[in-house]
């Protein structure tokens, strides 16, 4: 299945369409994720960057089979998870976990921290019943929280503390892949540092792969080894952090990076269109200052720039020389 031995997960031409929402024109269903091919390696942090509406969260949920992909394959551990039944998926669930954006709503308000942590332990028989209390305390310690938190309810904890518990809960099953969906966006800036450091430590200690979804490029740069940029459901650029930041090739990536610099002019930054752009052609064409007639008609193919760097743009060579 996989060429390189350390590839953990491979998405092939993954698409997620939502019934009932159609494109103007050709009447096809709206694809929140469109033909995305991506690999994740063991022990790496892959960032997925884009604005809201880019499909990054939908991609993550489809990967975890919280949504059913309409097309494509999810290759993991010698199986294609894309179209398995819930029961067939069960053995794989342990390996794929998620930390959500809003820590408070990711916990059952009626359950204590102890219950939230012990449920997965009991379901998956991580340890004998008698040892559960000790395991829960260990899980809390692993994320820097005291055992006293066991009896607290979610609303009694701060956002940062809850997010730690969320990470602890995800780790109880010793997953191979952790999806962090805007995991620090709702936290205060000084708490963000704590959680990011925690993720880094945990990742290095367990050789965990993390799919880190964010709209904040600074955070992506700090944590990620590779970064993928998504726009309206398509993966427009992918490369190592170094490649993306020093030599971005796609106009959208450049715009995103341009926002890091205070002095950027307003020229190309119109609002993201309220309605999804047309199916044919590059989806960024309507906003792109360099758009050629070709761009609106033909969908750009993903090409290799060099090293691990790929981009989906008709004009990347011309723009690179500019």
């Amino acid at each position: 299945m996989s060429a390189a031995p350390d590839i953990l997960l491979r998405l092939e031409s993954l698409s997620v369409a939502f019934p009932g929402v159609r494109h103007g024109g050709d009447g096809r269903h709206f694809r929140a994720v469109d033909d995305v091919t991506l690999e994740m390696r063991a022990g790496e942090v892959l960032g997925l960057v884009g604005e809201s509406g880019s499909g990054k969260t939908t991609l993550a949920k489809a990967l975890l089979r919280l949504y059913r992909p309409s097309e494509g394959r999810i290759l993991f551990r010698d199986a294609d998870l894309a179209h398995l039944s819930e029961r067939a998926l069960r053995p794989y669930r342990r390996d794929l976990q998620m930390v959500f954006q809003d820590p408070l709503s990711s916990f059952n308000p009626r359950q204590t921290v102890f219950e939230a942590l012990s449920v997965p332990m009991r379901l998956h028989r991580i340890c004998p019943r008698t040892k559960i209390a000790r395991e829960v305390e260990a899980a809390l310690a692993r994320v820097g929280l005291p055992a006293a938190f066991c009896d607290r309810f979610p609303h009694e904890l701060s956002g940062g503390q809850l997010q730690r518990v969320a990470i602890g809960r995800a780790l109880t099953l010793s997953p191979r892949l952790l999806v962090a969906d805007e995991a620090v966006s709702k936290l205060d800036v000084s708490i963000r540092a704590q959680i990011l450091n925690l993720l880094k430590d945990v990742q290095e200690a367990n050789r965990l792969s993390i799919l880190f979804i964010t709209h904040d490029l600074h955070v992506a740069r700090y944590l990620c080894h590779r970064i993928g940029v998504m726009y309206f459901g398509r993966l427009v650029e992918l490369g190592t952090t170094e490649e993306i930041f020093t030599a971005p090739r796609h106009p959208y990536t450049r715009t995103l990076l341009g926002t890091l610099d205070e002095e950027v002019a307003d020229a190309s930054e119109a609002e993201p269109p309220a309605a999804p752009p047309s199916e044919t052609g590059c989806r960024y064409a309507s906003r792109c200052p360099h758009a050629a007639p070709r761009c609106a008609e033909i969908h750009p193919v993903t090409e290799l720039v060099g090293g691990q760097h790929t981009v989906a743009c008709h004009l990347w060579r011309e723009l690179a020389d500019a």
Binding site: L66, D102, S106, T112, L123, L173
Partner: protein, 288 residues
């Protein structure tokens, strides 16, 4: 004391302090329940004790609600009757709640064809005015006390089904339910432990209001003779008796009506108060 119990007691104590409606409603309801369970036993007369020397006598010290055409003490009969009415109604609502909630939750969680079928069936039941439906069911099932409960259950079940379904649709998308799915938590467990506790509040409110509704239905059915059958006293049965002699002895019908009104007032106030308690409290706490 376990943390859960601590939390529950704290919430209970805090809630009643601020909310007059719930407190008054609870007090009245409690009074009614205590009155008909204990009071009936404490009364010197039995419900069938006939005093032929005091037929249709007006309210007095020895007979606070007067007597009926058989010389039976109306207050005693009302207390016994209220107990019957309450039990019949509560049983019916309990069945409606259990059935409606489970079907509503399952249909919302699974979605698809089952959901559509259930909702259209609920719509069908909704289309009939409740009393007419209940009456029809009594004709089909046959008269009698147990069937009244069943009729109430079937009439009220779509309300629980729809409520449970709508709440489940909301909660289903919450991150903590997604997290449970990611843990491969089995679906029955998710429904029971993750979803149900978080939709219970409006269902409980609905149940208190439902019991009030059930009392009215039972009274109506028994009044026209298709519900609880005499000699078993129920509020409707007593009212049917009282109607015959209304000109001569208005107190029978009137006092029974007052008793029903009290019970309904208590239950509805309690339900309203509960509703006020449940929702804004969550928001207020979030603010703090």
């Amino acid at each position: 004391m376990s943390p859960r119990r601590r939390q529950l007691l704290a919430r209970l104590a805090g809630s009643f302090r601020g909310n007059l409606t719930a407190t008054v409603g609870a007090a009245i309801t409690l009074f009614v329940i205590v009155a008909c369970s204990l009071g009936a036993a404490l009364m010197p007369y039995g419900p069938d004790h006939a005093d032929f020397l005091a037929l249709l006598s007006p309210p007095s010290l020895s007979h606070p609600f007067g007597t009926d055409s058989f010389g039976r003490d109306v207050l005693t009969r009302v207390l016994y009757g209220a107990r019957v009415s309450l039990v019949v109604s509560a049983a019916g609502i309990a069945i409606a709640a259990a059935l409606g909630t489970s079907l509503g939750m399952i249909s919302a969680y699974k979605g698809g064809g089952a959901d559509v079928v259930l909702m259209r069936f609920a719509d069908l039941l909704f289309a009939f005015p409740s009393f007419v439906l209940a009456l029809f069911l009594m004709v089909v099932l046959g008269f009698g006390t147990i069937n009244v409960s069943l009729a109430i259950a079937l009439t009220y079940f779509p309300i629980f089904a729809r409520l449970a379904r709508n709440m489940t649709l909301l909660v289903r998308e919450e991150p903590f339910v997604l997290a449970a799915r990611l843990m491969a938590e089995p679906t029955p467990r998710i429904l029971l432990r993750e979803i149900l506790p978080n939709i219970a509040a409006p269902l409980i409110v609905q149940a208190t209001i439902g019991i009030a509704f059930g009392i009215v239905i039972e009274a109506g059915l028994s009044f026209i003779g298709v519900g609880v059958q005499p000699p078993t006293p129920s509020l409707g049965v007593i009212m049917a008796d009282g109607r015959e002699y209304f000109q001569r002895a208005p107190w029978v019908l009137t006092m029974t009506g007052v008793a029903i009104s009290c019970a309904l007032l208590g239950l509805n106030l309690f339900g309203d108060g509960l509703r006020d308690l449940m929702d804004p409290r969550l928001r207020q706490r979030a603010q703090q």
